[in-house]
Each structure stands twice: as structure tokens, then as C-alpha cells.
């Protein structure tokens, strides 16, 4: 029996299990690309507008950090600048989660063992997963290229841009293949891979910020850190600006190297084991562990710490960059309008800070979803059954989880506001004052996060089996409404669906109590529904 025996059958199993996810991925990303390209074309219809956009983007460190380097004034180049980071992050995370799901998660749940006992080679499960996921990336990229051509962009550029996005997916497929070998848990493997995505983002941002502006002012030549970031490679393809096709060899090379490394690691470890040997722990439970709250803290603290580090690491540079924002605005009325749409108000620095806090609030929404979905994970694993067979009521159990997630969200919001304020204050000479002010402003986002907690809790109570899918979908919808609603010119009624729409744009405008109270009331209602439904349903179900 060869090490690859059974790969085809396993690949079919992967396809069968993920047929809906894959379809959404493969059709969804091109559709999103098409919609975005269309609306960017509407906002920057002529050469003049695009020239302004390109020069501002090239000179603005903020734009370089968040949108990547601009390459010329072609409509396609503007589309890439506006959409590349979003699409690249989406495919990077989709690829990562898919790899983990079909490798480490199978081992963790024991499914792999069941399969491994059949006629299945040692490398077959990993190979099957990689085949399907690389193929999905390729197919999605091909459709994206068609979509971009359909939106009126040039053929070569569209191919290059789509291949660049596909390349990002392929690169992170390789990275996830390796992290799946390292960590014992699927959660850990995903966290490692997601941390790599974050690191790639930071490296790319640093490389693009440190890069040079071309003589004509419409291009950026990135510095070396962008070249060691798989997220940065896509930009270096320079779609719509004299495409450098050879750069696409980088993700392919990473794929080959990653697969080789993953095979080598798989060879050296046992099924179900990681490379880091498990450590022993205390023989008895410390008193502070022995309650639902103690347990929640124990199981959440690692995640919270990771988030805290990430938030603080983003907050400081975002704050520092705020000062430099004025220059960018002067040069580009269109961008000013866009930022205004995100933040509102007249003072553009405050609008910028508002937009950044809004971004943080969206991101921290992901923390809330992740933290609360643990209850569902526990239920699916059977742990919840053991816990609820003790003298702990369902209300107390679920309430504790909601409280823990809320406290975590408060900590992260404060940290986001304070670090952004510190960064901005250091530049303007008032670190303490800004930290306090922005910390307070960030906390005003809490009601929106409570609504998210309410949504997840209600889904968990009413449709437990759909918790994971529906919760993340809800957050994604809120995110897309917030990030792209303005660009896509969606009607206000649609935007109102997102709780983030209703958060007063502080510090750009003065805080208003009413919307916050309404959000809090909606959150309370959703939480009440969720808890009541949970109290009346079967566990596990």
C-alpha cells in the first residue's frame, strides 16, 4: 500500500462534506469582486479622478498600510487597491480553516483514526484536503478573472489580479498544512495559521509603508518586508501595470515547500499527536477554577491574551498614522469623502479615528462570536452534558459565558481605544489625554457588540446545530455592510440591519444616548430569547 492510497476517495469525501461551503466560496468571491469592481468604476470614472486617487494613495502611509501599494492609474489598479486586501484576507482565512477542518480536526475527533484503519495511505488525508482546497482556489481565481473582465477590466490585468488572489489562498493552504501538524487541536492549528495571516498583514503593511513613491507619484515600490509576506506577493504581481508574472511562482514554491514540510512532520509524529509534547499540570483544581466563571476564565484567557496582543499591536501604529492623515486628505477629496462616509463629521482626523475605532469594533465582534461559540463547541463535544448534569443551572452556565465574552470585549475595546489614543497622543504631545478620550469613545461601541452577543446567544438557543455557520454569517454580513455598504451604495434600510450602523460616530460627532440605549435593549431582548430557548430545549441537540 502506498502512502497515497485512497487519496481520490478521501478527496471525494472532502467534496461531499464541504459542497455547500466550497460553492459559496467559489461563487461568492468572484461575485464580491464583480460588485466591488463595478462600484469602484462608478466612483473613479475618469483618468483625472484616478490620477488623484493614485497620487494620494501612493503618498499616504495609511493608504499604503491598509490598501497596499498602488500601481498606476488604470481602473484595474484602483480596483485592486480598493479590494485586494479584503479579498486576499477572505481567501487566506477560508483556505486556512478548510485545511484544518479536513486534517487536524479529523484527528482530534477521531474520524481520521476510523479512516486510517481502512485502506488509506499515511499521506492520503492531507493530500486529499490540499488537492481540493488548491483546486477550489484555482477555480475561484478563474471565475474572479472572468468577473473582472466582465466588469470591463483588461484581460491580462484581470488574470494577474485574480491569480494573485488565488496565490494568496494557495500560500495559506501550505501554511495551514504545516500548522495542522504542529498543534494538537484544530483550534490551536487555526490560531497559529490566523496569527501567520496577521503577521503577514503587518509585514506587508510595514514593507509598503517603508516603500518609495515613484517619480510620477502614482506608484509605490515596496520595501523588503512586503516580499517576505505571502499577502504582499499579490501586490508585487503589479496587475494592470506591466504584470510581473514570475512573482506568481512564489506561492507555488511555498506550496511545494509547505507540503514537503507537512509530509515530513506527519512522518515524524503519531496520529493525533502534535510536535510539542503535552505538559503535565496540577493534580487538583485551584479554588478559583472551580466555578463556571473560573472555568470560563481558564478556557478563554489564552484567546483573550492573543486578541489583546493583536489589538494593541495594531492600535499604536494606527494612532501614530492619524497625524499624517491630514496630508492625504488635502490631496484627495474623493478619499476624504470615503473616510467621511465611514466616520462622518467635519474634522477629518476625528473621522479617521472614528473609522479606526469602527474597524476595531468590527474585529472585536469576531472575538465575541468566537468566545460565545465555545458553548456550542462544548455541547457538540459532550462536555456541556457533563457540566449540566451537576447542580449548575442552564441560565447560570450560559449567563456566565455571555458575561465572560462581554468582559473580554470591554477589555479589548478599551485596549484598542487606549493604544490608538496613545499612538496619536505621542505624535501630538498629549498621550494621556488622547488615551482617555479614545478609550472612552471605544467603549461606546460596546452596545453593538452586545447585540452581536445577543445574536449568537439567540441562535445557540433556537438553532443550536446552525450556531457556527449562522453566527459567523451574521458577523460577515455586518462587516460587509459596514465596510462595503457605502462603496456599493446600498439603501439605508439594508445598512440599518447592522448594529454598527447605529453606533454614534464618536469622536467625530458627539455621543448620543438614545441609539446606545436602543442597541442595549435589542441586545437584552436577544439574550433573553437565547437563554429562554436554551432552557427549554434538549441538551445535547
Amino acid at each position: 500500500m502506498s502512502a497515497l492510497t485512497g487519496t481520490t476517495r478521501l478527496a471525494r469525501l472532502v467534496l461531499r462534506r464541504d459542497r455547500i461551503r466550497l460553492a459559496i466560496w467559489i461563487i461568492g468571491t468572484p461575485l464580491l469582486g464583480y460588485a466591488l469592481a463595478g462600484s469602484v468604476a462608478g466612483i473613479y470614472p475618469d483618468q483625472e479622478a484616478r490620477l488623484g486617487y493614485a497620487t494620494t494613495s501612493a503618498s499616504s502611509l495609511v493608504a499604503r498600510a491598509f490598501n497596499g501599494p498602488i500601481h498606476g492609474t488604470d481602473l484595474g489598479a484602483v480596483v485592486v487597491a480598493e479590494t485586494y486586501v479584503t479579498l486576499a484576507l477572505i481567501v487566506a482565512l477560508l483556505s486556512t480553516f478548510a485545511v484544518t477542518r479536513h486534517t487536524r480536526q479529523n484527528e482530534e475527533t477521531g474520524r481520521a483514526e476510523l479512516l486510517g484503519a481502512n485502506v488509506v495511505g499515511r499521506y492520503a488525508p492531507l493530500t486529499a484536503a490540499l488537492l481540493v482546497i488548491v483546486a477550489a482556489n484555482a477555480l475561484a481565481a478563474a471565475l474572479l478573472a472572468l468577473a473582472l473582465v466582465g466588469a470591463g477590466l483588461s484581460l491580462a490585468g484581470s488574470l494577474a489580479a485574480a491569480a494573485a488572489i488565488g496565490g494568496v489562498g494557495v500560500a495559506f493552504t501550505a501554511i495551514a498544512a504545516v500548522t495542522a501538524q504542529l498543534s494538537v487541536t484544530a483550534r490551536g492549528a487555526n490560531a497559529l495559521a490566523a496569527a501567520t495571516v496577521g503577521l503577514s498583514f503587518v509585514l506587508r503593511a510595514a514593507g509598503d509603508v517603508l516603500g518609495e513613491q515613484s517619480a510620477d507619484g502614482t506608484r509605490v515600490r515596496s520595501a523588503w518586508p512586503s516580499w517576505i509576506s505571502p499577502l504582499g506577493w499579490g501586490n508585487q504581481v503589479r496587475a494592470f501595470d506591466g504584470e510581473r508574472w514570475w512573482v506568481l511562482a512564489l506561492p507555488v514554491a511555498l506550496l511545494l515547500a509547505g507540503v514537503a514540510l507537512a509530509y515530513a512532520l506527519a512522518e515524524r509524529r503519531d496520529l493525533g499527536a502534535g510536535l510539542i509534547a503535552p505538559r503535565r499540570g496540577p493534580a487538583s483544581g485551584a479554588p478559583r477554577l472551580l466555578s463556571p466563571a473560573g472555568l470560563a476564565w481558564r478556557t478563554q484567557r489564552g484567546t483573550l491574551l492573543g486578541w489583546a496582543v493583536g489589538v494593541a499591536a495594531l492600535g499604536l501604529p494606527m494612532g501614530v498614522a492619524a497625524d499624517e492623515f491630514n496630508d492625504m486628505i488635502d490631496a484627495n477629496p474623493a478619499a476624504a469623502e470615503a473616510i467621511n462616509a465611514m466616520g462622518g463629521g467635519d474634522d477629518l482626523i476625528n473621522a479617521y479615528l472614528t473609522a479606526m475605532l469602527g474597524l476595531f469594533a468590527l474585529t472585536i465582534g469576531a472575538y465575541v462570536v468566537q468566545a460565545l461559540l465555545r458553548v456550542r463547541g462544548d455541547e457538540a463535544d459532550g462536555v456541556l452534558e457533563a457540566a449540566l448534569a451537576t447542580a449548575v443551572s442552564r441560565t447560570r452556565w450560559l449567563g456566565t459565558q455571555v458575561l465572560a465574552a462581554t468582559l473580554g470585549a470591554i477589555v479589548l475595546l478599551l485596549l484598542a481605544g487606549v493604544t490608538t489614543g496613545l499612538g496619536y497622543g505621542i505624535v501630538t504631545g498629549d498621550p494621556l489625554g488622547q488615551a482617555v478620550e479614545l478609550g472612552g469613545a471605544a467603549l461606546l461601541r460596546l452596545p453593538a457588540l452586545l447585540v452581536i452577543a445577543g445574536v449568537v446567544t439567540a441562535i445557540f438557543g433556537l438553532l443550536p446545530r446552525w450556531s457556527v455557520v449562522l453566527s459567523w454569517t451574521a458577523l460577515l454580513v455586518f462587516l460587509l455592510l459596514g465596510q462595503l455598504g457605502a462603496v456599493l451604495e446600498l439603501p439605508q434600510a439594508a445598512l440599518n440591519v447592522s448594529p454598527y450602523t447605529h453606533v454614534p460616530a464618536v469622536p467625530a460627532v458627539d455621543p448620543a444616548a438614545l441609539p446606545l440605549l436602543v442597541l442595549a435593549a435589542v441586545a437584552a431582548a436577544l439574550l433573553a430569547v437565547g437563554v429562554a430557548a436554551f432552557r427549554h430545549r434538549d441538551v445535547p441537540s
Binding site: 499540570g281 472551580l290 459532550g382 462536555v383 457533563a386
Partner: protein, 347 residues
């Protein structure tokens, strides 16, 4: 007052009717075996008794309270070992035991340490790294380290080695001695035989039999082998006698316990030289109930009423067979027992 009383319990999962009018009564202080084929509804019943699942209809009372409405209050008075033990992967075994114990309302420290020792469980390892048997032990230790009135154990020893099985049985006897009640779902018949005062057998969500093991034995045919001076005749006419056949001058047959007396009366007339009577093994008993033959189940049910009358008689047969097992079993086992097991089972 019974510790557990269930009447006409129904539970459906969508189109699946997991429990279909189940009855169960567990008296104070007894160890009650809860048996049935895979998927017959044992775990579902237990989860209803714990207030985890909501019943569709029927009555369920645990320690005099409604398990759904009074779940939290009841849980202080009972301990549960789930059929499929899953624990917090990043907690150590010791931490998980203490956590479960504390959430239940506290545990006996000293007994906890003693149990860890007896079950040979390393409490410093993360739950993720435990084998199935060791995860099972964590739940067992957490349960038996609590002083409660009722222990609900869902296949607690699946995955335990024979040594640990013995320790487990000691623990069940200890809590029984202390006056606690135990509901034990199990597929390990030796364990059931060793521990249970009474058993209930369920099938497809319904109780098919309930009683002491001795009572249940009477519902199943006894295998008889007899060697006589003259060829036996007239057996086919006797009620309750089945499967008569002759091999090498010995007559083999099966008889319903209620008709044993009449059979002996008939046999004696042909000059009995040797006679072995083998009461049904536990396996035969269960195979009959677990199997797919509804006729066999019906015979069992009709015989149940009559069984009590002949109980003294049949009990004596059981006892003599058990007492003389050293001598007679050798004779029986080589020829009859292996062949009988499937026969008795299918019928």
C-alpha cells in the same frame, strides 16, 4: 417510594421514536441494571432522568421530583457518569474531577485521593491526552467521590480493563452498602450478574422485561440432557417441551421452567441414569430479548405470569446446577453449551 419511577415515557427526535411508552421503577437502595440493544433508548432515558432532554409525554420522577423542572436541586443529590465521557481538553484529570465535584456541590477529598490511587489514574495529565478508559475513570472517580443518594451510570465500564472493572464493582457495592441507589446501564453481562439486584430490559424504546435475574431466568427454557435405561417416548406430547432429539443414546431437549416438574415425572419412568439440567445463561436470556423474533418475546411475556408458581422448583434446579457446576459443567459444556447459545438466542 421508588427512587426512579417512569411511566409510559415517550421521546421523539423528529421522525425517530426513541422512547415509546417506557416504564421503569428503581427502588431505594437497589442496584438496577438497565439493559437493551444498541439504540434501544437507554441513554435517552437517562438524559431525561437528568433533565437534559425534555420528554414528549409520560411521567418521570427522580427522588420524588420532576427531573426537568427541579433539575438543579436534584443534581445535588445524584452523580452521573455519561456513556461517552468528554472533558475539557486543557484541564488536567485532577482539575476536571474537582470541577465536576464542586459544581455538584462538593466532594470527599479523602475518598477522591483514594479512588485515584485505586483506579491508578494520573491526575496531572491533560484530559486531551487520556485514553478512553482513563477518561472514563475521571468521570467514575468524580462520581464516586461525591456523597449522593443516586448514581446514574451509563455504560460506565466500557473501556475499563478487568482489573479496573473489579475496582468499579467494589465501589458500586460500597455505595450500595451506604444506602445509595444505582442505575447501571451496561452491556457487560458479567457485571450485571455480579452487581444488579434487579434489571430492566428495554427494546425499541419499550420495557420488555423487569425483575430479578432469577425471575428472568424462569422465562427462558432450561436445557436438559438425560441418559435413560430404556428409550424415552411420549415427550413430544408434553406441554412446554421442545427440540427433543437423541444422540448416542442420550436425549437432549429444552423445557420451559414451569413444565420441568411434569417432564421429570415422565422421564423417571424410563430409568434415569444421568441427568444434566443447564439453566439459561445470561447471554441466552439477553439474546432472546435483544433478538428480532417477536414470537420469542411473546412467549416470554405469557410465561412471566406462570413463572412465579414454579419459582421454588426452578430455583432449586438453578442452585443445583450452580453448585455442581464443577462436575456437570464439564459434561455439558463440550457438547451442549456452545451449540445451545445460538439456538437459545435465536428462538
Amino acid at each position: 417510594m421508588p427512587v426512579i419511577s417512569i411511566g409510559n415515557l415517550v421521546k421523539t427526535f423528529g421522525a425517530i421514536r426513541a422512547l415509546d411508552g417506557l416504564d421503569l421503577r428503581v427502588e431505594q437502595g437497589e442496584v438496577h441494571g438497565f439493559l437493551g440493544p444498541n439504540g434501544s433508548g437507554k441513554s435517552t432515558t437517562i438524559r431525561i432522568l437528568l433533565g437534559l432532554l425534555r420528554r414528549d409525554s409520560g411521567d418521570a420522577q427522580v427522588l420524588g421530583a420532576d427531573p426537568w423542572r427541579d433539575a438543579v436541586r436534584l443534581h445535588r443529590r445524584l452523580a452521573y457518569v455519561p456513556g461517552d465521557v468528554n472533558l475539557w481538553p486543557n484541564l488536567t484529570g485532577g482539575e476536571a474531577i474537582d470541577l465536576l465535584g464542586k459544581l455538584r456541590g462538593g466532594l470527599d477529598r479523602q475518598r477522591r485521593d483514594e479512588l485515584l490511587h485505586r483506579f491508578d489514574l494520573d491526575p496531572t495529565r491533560r484530559c486531551r491526552t487520556y485514553s478512553k478508559g482513563n477518561r472514563q475513570k475521571v468521570a467514575i472517580v468524580a462520581a464516586f467521590a461525591s456523597n449522593v443518594e443516586l448514581y446514574v451510570l451509563d455504560e460506565p465500564t466500557s473501556g475499563l480493563d478487568p482489573l479496573m472493572e473489579a475496582v468499579f464493582q467494589d465501589e458500586v457495592r460500597r455505595v450500595k452498602q451506604a444506602g445509595a441507589t444505582v442505575l447501571l446501564s451496561s452491556h457487560v453481562l458479567a457485571e450485571v450478574e455480579a452487581l444488579c439486584d434487579r434489571v430492566s430490559i428495554i427494546r425499541e424504546g419499550r420495557t420488555v422485561e423487569s425483575g430479578t435475574l432469577t425471575e428472568l431466568r424462569h422465562l427462558t427454557r432450561t436445557a436438559v440432557t438425560v441418559e435413560t435405561a430404556r428409550p424415552v417416548t411420549g415427550l413430544d406430547a408434553l406441554p412446554g417441551v421442545h427440540d427433543v432429539h437423541e444422540v448416542d443414546g442420550r436425549t437432549h431437549l429444552e423445557v420451559e421452567p414451569t413444565h420441568l416438574d411434569a417432564l421429570l415425572g415422565q422421564l423417571i419412568r424410563f430409568g434415569v441414569r444421568a441427568l444434566t439440567s443447564t439453566p439459561p445463561t445470561l447471554e441466552q436470556l439477553f439474546l432472546r430479548h435483544y433478538g428480532d423474533d417477536p414470537a420469542a418475546a411473546a412467549t416470554g411475556a405469557s410465561a412471566a405470569a406462570a413463572a412465579t408458581g414454579a419459582s421454588a422448583n426452578a430455583a432449586a434446579t438453578g442452585a443445583s446446577a450452580a453448585g455442581g457446576s464443577g462436575a456437570s459443567a464439564a459434561e455439558v459444556s463440550d457438547a451442549d453449551a456452545p451449540a445451545d447459545a445460538p439456538r437459545g438466542g435465536v428462538r
